[in-house]
């Protein structure tokens, strides 16, 4: 109550302004400690994280992404990374291994990046007839090791399935099925060059843009192979058994709105009917420095590979409209 004749505003001196509910964060505490020991985490971030291990891990993850190609990734891909106690939102934590965590990368929204290979393939075909297929397969092969790419092969599988469904209908002829085979450029039917052949050809390329593209795809190929996310064990596979395949993170087209894009649009309608598996799942034991170091190294290679792919798409003609930010 106020005293005297004036009004008195109640004071909150000594009352805590922030209350935080702390759930069981033993894994986060262990991981924060390991990250600082390994110098993966920056001690200065501890204050920024308000002395909270979960926030510290989050800040460390953001910083790691930023120093491993974050801006290039964000230009072309909509991805999110998190560390979780289970390999997917649907999977329950494995009680037999309470200390195990998973570093996960998956699309942050129900949409994916896009790359039009058509103009690039035309440009490379003028240099060598086998160069377009070589470029495409090196690019897609490198990135597919980390993220799912939806390309003409997925579209062909879809068309095959649609044909089988349509064949069972009485009015099968009325179904309009995209002509994926007809939309594949003839140069893609060429055999890709082997590594030695590509290096020999590279020395003879005089067109500067083509040379940058070839150098870029060779670098991407080597970068992608610097680490591989190891096979998941049986218990983790079991946890993911009810999930759909991972969502595609990049749509590889030969022309804007081609048959592959049509198949993707049709197939995408059902991709979220069941929880999809994340694109990258890296298990780690937060108390084991070797395990955490390996996981963050693998994660770093994944980020740099995705960033290099984004930079390469920047160099590919006809891809200005797919920039996200």
């Amino acid at each position: 109550m106020g005293s005297g004749t004036g009004l008195l505003i109640p004071r909150l001196d000594g009352v805590s302004l922030i209350h935080r509910l702390i759930a069981d964060d033993r894994s986060a505490v262990m991981l924060a400690e390991t990250l600082v020991e390994l110098d993966v985490g920056t001690p200065g971030d501890w204050k920024r994280a308000e002395h909270d291990p979960t926030s510290f891990v989050r800040i460390t993850l953001d910083r790691w992404i930023q120093t491993h190609g974050g801006p290039s990734i964000r230009r072309r891909f909509l991805l999110s990374a998190e560390i979780s106690a289970s390999p997917s939102d649907w999977a329950e934590q494995d009680q037999a291994r309470p200390n195990r965590l998973f570093l996960i990368i998956e699309p942050s929204e129900a949409t994916c990046g896009c790359a039009n290979f058509g103009p690039t393939l035309q440009m490379l075909e003028r240099i060598h007839p086998q160069l377009p297929a070589t470029f495409f397969h090196l690019f897609v092969g490198a990135l597919n090791g980390w993220l799912r790419i939806y390309d003409f092969r997925d579209a062909k599988d879809r068309v095959e399935m649609l044909r089988e469904w349509a064949a069972q209908e009485p009015n099968a002829d009325e179904y309009e099925i995209p002509d994926v085979t007809g939309s594949i450029p003839p140069c893609m039917k060429q055999e890709p060059l082997d590594e030695a052949g590509l290096y020999r050809l590279k020395k003879r390329i005089t067109d500067q843009q083509a040379l940058k593209l070839v150098e870029g795809v060779i670098a991407l190929h080597h970068l992608a192979g610097q680490a591989n996310h190891s096979e998941l064990d049986d218990s983790t596979r079991e946890q993911l058994s009810d999930c759909n395949p991972p969502l595609p993170c990049l749509l590889a087209l030969f022309a804007e709105a081609d048959a592959t894009a049509a198949c993707f649009d049709e197939e995408a309608q059902g991709m979220l009917e069941v929880e999809p598996e994340p694109n990258i799942i890296i298990p780690l034991d937060p108390a084991d420095t070797q395990s955490v170091q390996h996981a963050f190294h693998t994660f770093g290679v994944a980020c740099e590979t995705i960033a290099a792919a984004g930079d390469l798409i920047d160099l590919m003609p006809g891809n200005d409209q797919w920039i996200i930010r």
């Binding site: 935080r20 509910l21 702390i22 759930a23 069981d24 033993r26 505490v29 262990m30 924060a32 400690e33 600082v36 020991e37 110098d39 001690p43 200065g44 501890w46 002395h51 291990p53």
Partner: protein, 77 residues
């Protein structure tokens, strides 16, 4: 401008010491009732058992006893 390596090492050791106190639950934030509860599985299990018992009791004895009308004896239970 970056700080000298010695200062960085001091910060690192201080952070590790604080995380260690968190790991051993000696940190001040775990000394609150809620903090201790959130880390004690025995307490959590006991609370779950109590909650389940209260719910079961409510289901079994959910009748509301009425006062006997004036002039009548209360029901014999």
């Amino acid at each position: 401008m970056s700080r000298n390596p010695q200062s960085k090492e001091v910060t690192k050791q201080a952070v590790l010491a604080e995380i260690e106190s968190l790991r051993q639950c000696r940190h001040a934030r775990y000394q609150t009732l809620l903090g201790r509860f959130s880390r004690c599985q025995d307490w959590q299990q006991a609370a779950s058992l109590c909650a389940a018992a209260v719910e079961a009791t409510t289901r079994t004895y959910n009748r509301t006893p009425l006062d006997a009308p004036p002039g009548l004896l209360p029901p014999v239970s």
